[in-house]
């Protein structure tokens, strides 16, 4: 009989792998993605495909330079997922190079500069999104109203290709505003919510996703469904999403009650922008969020608080990317202070003490 090298147990394993984890997340993203592509037409589809291809090519190139095997790392789904999340967060009619530059930045600077899979302190997709937003503010705030496939309102295949390759020609004709952007602009003009909100925001449309916004972020309900699927499949736990959404809802609710004309209600916050995607798919990024349960609650609450602060008082209308990156930086610290108590020891690490021997009195 063959004698294998002496190894420790276990000699059996849960039917699981990194690829399985990553592709489950991709599956959870699929409905919201398909909805976004359907809603924003050919340019969105081209941008999505280009971003994913760029991410995979960048991964392959980095693996080659690092001298790592291509197959296990390209097939683990992590680069695909990074590209996917980045594409979902881009303006749907952004030019091709936005997707390419973003994917390169995410994979090369966001991931491989730190040592590749599992080593990056910041979420690569959000890092790229923020870098693009700061570097190319015009392209990154080109919002269009939905013009779904098969309704005849959007560009056809050739027009769509032209938009992706050469940019949008008559910007003013198609561009719209996101709810959060609209609120911010109107606020600076001195118009309160009573005047600005009804023009653009409709709660049902925001929930379904029939509104302008990033490629895959508009449908709060489909993203929520994907998130619940991930929790049921035990890829993520409820701690981060619930803490993040709950904190935003609580803060928004409190301020809204105090001054309804100055502060939007919780539903506006929860249903618009990147919050839903951020709470279930970005903040929960396994690599960059805390591994302890308590740490995850603190992390989620911190993300939520920062999102609310940036949206309400910051210079940008949306703050999910910044919030998550800031909390990513705090992850090691949070983890250090939220380690579980060790069995048989007190929190301080000293052995536990009991006054009398263990005895069961009741039956």
């Amino acid at each position: 009989m063959n004698s294998p090298a002496p190894i420790a147990g276990p000699h059996t394993h849960a039917p699981d792998s990194i690829a399985k984890v990553m592709f489950t997340v991709v599956l959870a993203l699929l409905p919201a993605t398909l909805f976004g592509i359907w809603q924003f037409g050919w340019p969105a589809l081209f941008l999505f495909v280009i971003t994913l291809l760029a991410a995979l090519l960048a991964e392959a190139a980095c693996l080659h330079i690092a001298g790592r095997p291509q197959k296990p790392f390209l097939l683990d789904g992590s680069a695909l997922l990074t590209g996917w999340l980045l594409a979902m967060s881009l303006p749907p009619w952004a030019p091709w190079w936005i997707g390419v530059v973003g994917a390169l930045f995410a994979i090369v600077v966001g991931k491989h500069v730190f040592g590749g899979l599992g080593q990056n302190p910041f979420n690569p997709a959000m890092l790229a999104r923020v870098a693009l937003l700061i570097s190319f503010p015009v392209e990154m705030t080109l919002w269009v109203d939905p013009s779904p496939f098969m309704t005849g309102t959007g560009p056809d295949l050739i027009e769509g290709l032209a938009i992706t390759l050469f940019g949008v020609k008559n910007i003013d004709a198609v561009s719209g505003a996101t709810v959060l952007g609209h609120i911010k602009t109107e606020m600076t003009r001195g118009h309160d919510l009573g005047a600005s909100l009804p023009a653009l925001y409709d709660m049902q449309a925001a929930a379904v996703g029939n509104s302008s916004g990033s490629l895959g972020e508009t449908s709060a309900l489909l993203i929520l469904g994907g998130g619940v699927f991930l929790i049921l499949r035990r890829v993520i736990t409820w701690h981060i999403p619930l803490a993040m959404l709950g904190t935003v809802a609580l803060l928004a609710g409190g301020f809204h009650l105090a001054d309804p004309l100055r502060y939007a209600d919780p539903a506006v916050h929860l249903l618009t922008g990147a919050l839903m995607l951020g709470a279930f798919f970005i903040a929960t990024d396994l690599v960059t969020s805390p591994v302890t349960r308590l740490g995850q609650v603190i992390f989620g609450a911190g993300c939520g608080a920062l999102v609310f602060v940036i949206r309400t008082w910051g210079g940008f209308p949306e703050g999910v990317g910044f919030a998550v990156l800031l909390m990513n930086a705090a992850t090691p610290l949070i983890e250090h202070y939220t380690r579980p108590r060790i069995f048989g020891r007190s929190r301080s690490g000293a052995p536990r003490e009991y006054p009398e021997p263990a005895e069961r009195k009741e039956h």
């Binding site: 009989m1 063959n2 004698s3 294998p4 002496p6 190894i7 420790a8 147990g9 276990p10 000699h11 059996t12 394993h13 849960a14 039917p15 699981d16 792998s17 990194i18 399985k20 984890v21 296990p72 683990d76 992590s78 590749g116 899979l117 599992g118 080593q119 396994l286 690599v287 960059t288 969020s289 805390p290 591994v291 302890t292 349960r293 983890e335 380690r339 579980p340 108590r341 060790i342 069995f343 048989g344 020891r345 052995p351 536990r352 003490e353 009991y354 009398e356 021997p357 263990a358 005895e359 069961r360 009741e362 039956h363």
Partner: protein, 483 residues
Amino acid sequence: MRLFRFRGGVHPEGHKELTEERPITQLPLPERLYVPVQQHIGAPAKPVVTAGDPVAKGALIATAQGALSASVHAPTSGRIAAIEEHPAPHPSGLPVPTIVIESDGEDRWADTLDSVDPFTLTPEAIAGRVAAAGIVGMGGATFPSAVKLNLGRTQPLATLIINGGECEPYLTCDDRLMREQAGTVVDGIRIMLHAAAIERALVGIEDNKPAALAAMRKAAQAFPGIDIVAVPSLYPMGSEKQMIYALTGREVPAGKRPGDIGVLVHNVATAHAVSRAVRTGRPLLSRVVTVSGGAVRDRHNLEVPIGTRVSELLRHCGVTGEPARLLMGGPMMGMVLPHAEVPVVKGSNGVIALTTAEVAPHAAMPCIRCGRCVGACPVGLVPLDLMSRVRGGDLDGAVDSGLVDCLSCGSCAYVCPAHLPLTQYFNFAKGELVIRDQERRKAEFTRTLAAERQERLERQRREKAAAMAARKAKKMAEQGADA
């Protein structure tokens, strides 16, 4: 009864259905038995026979040495063929002194039965009979049982916990024993209660063994001090500390033993062996072993004489193809056997031959910090952090992160989607720690010796100087007197 949920734990595929309906059968007597003199925690037993001696079944062949040790007896009659080094069931496969017995096929007992009523005996006498029978913890820990029973006289004990968890996948030997021999197991529990002067016994059995639970409940009906408790099937329920917590809500303090919180824990198979030994005066000569796994053709629960080589078990049951991995014990914590020539010992509860599909070998990927290991660890460690410290050679950091609290239960490695061999890292680090402590002690000892030598030389020098000065003074005085 209120139960307590320990943190973490995993639900590995049980595979108990492969053998749970297989009644215990006798393995035909092998021609040769290889009985190691060390099958327990503590000092090895000292052989009291020499090669060529005739030996009868049950005769003492190696006697316990010191306070923590266990005697070894001849599992059958025949002739001592040799006392030699033979590979022991240990991952290293290193040989240990082993008494080889050539069976004469007669299976002739050394003596007649020495039947007594245990409840007329003093606790000391019971512990004495358990020690004489060479009984050790049969759940796998192999701690000499008599030493544990004697604890009651030095520590106030309140509860006897009988571990019927059997949480390892594939293993069903304790399950079968409880189903078929519930009366004897319960009798052993009563004897142990009497010996340790404890009133209450809690028998924890995982709820995936309903037949064993029913049989034990029926057998224990007449004895109000013995409670049969169904505990959730959650690995590692059969771990002593986790079982104590599940039943009492008490955590054994770090670095302490169950006795320190008034609890005594024994395995069901140990209770069974205690009953037989104390009532009949006959030693522990065999045990029930589950032979299972995908590579085994006819899976069995076999009563096997101690010292039977694993190859005999596999020959009896049949092996299909080449097993990918041969284990002694369960697949979570069992040890890889280097080959099948090692013998079954008192702590061997299973021989598992796994196919490649069952082992599911997988290349390790980098840690993606998913935190599943943190959720699975029953001790509350952060295995990914511990691993990176071990990998970085930071042994002190690993100790600070709880290395010594690790049970090596394998829950973390079981759930790791990156297939990282976490337990391997931790076992390696524990080994390093032992080596480092040994070296530190050695260095300290050398330092002490050197310091003592220095002091001695200094003293001798001082004494010499003093003597010289005294002589000089005396001479001066004499000269002075002369002048």
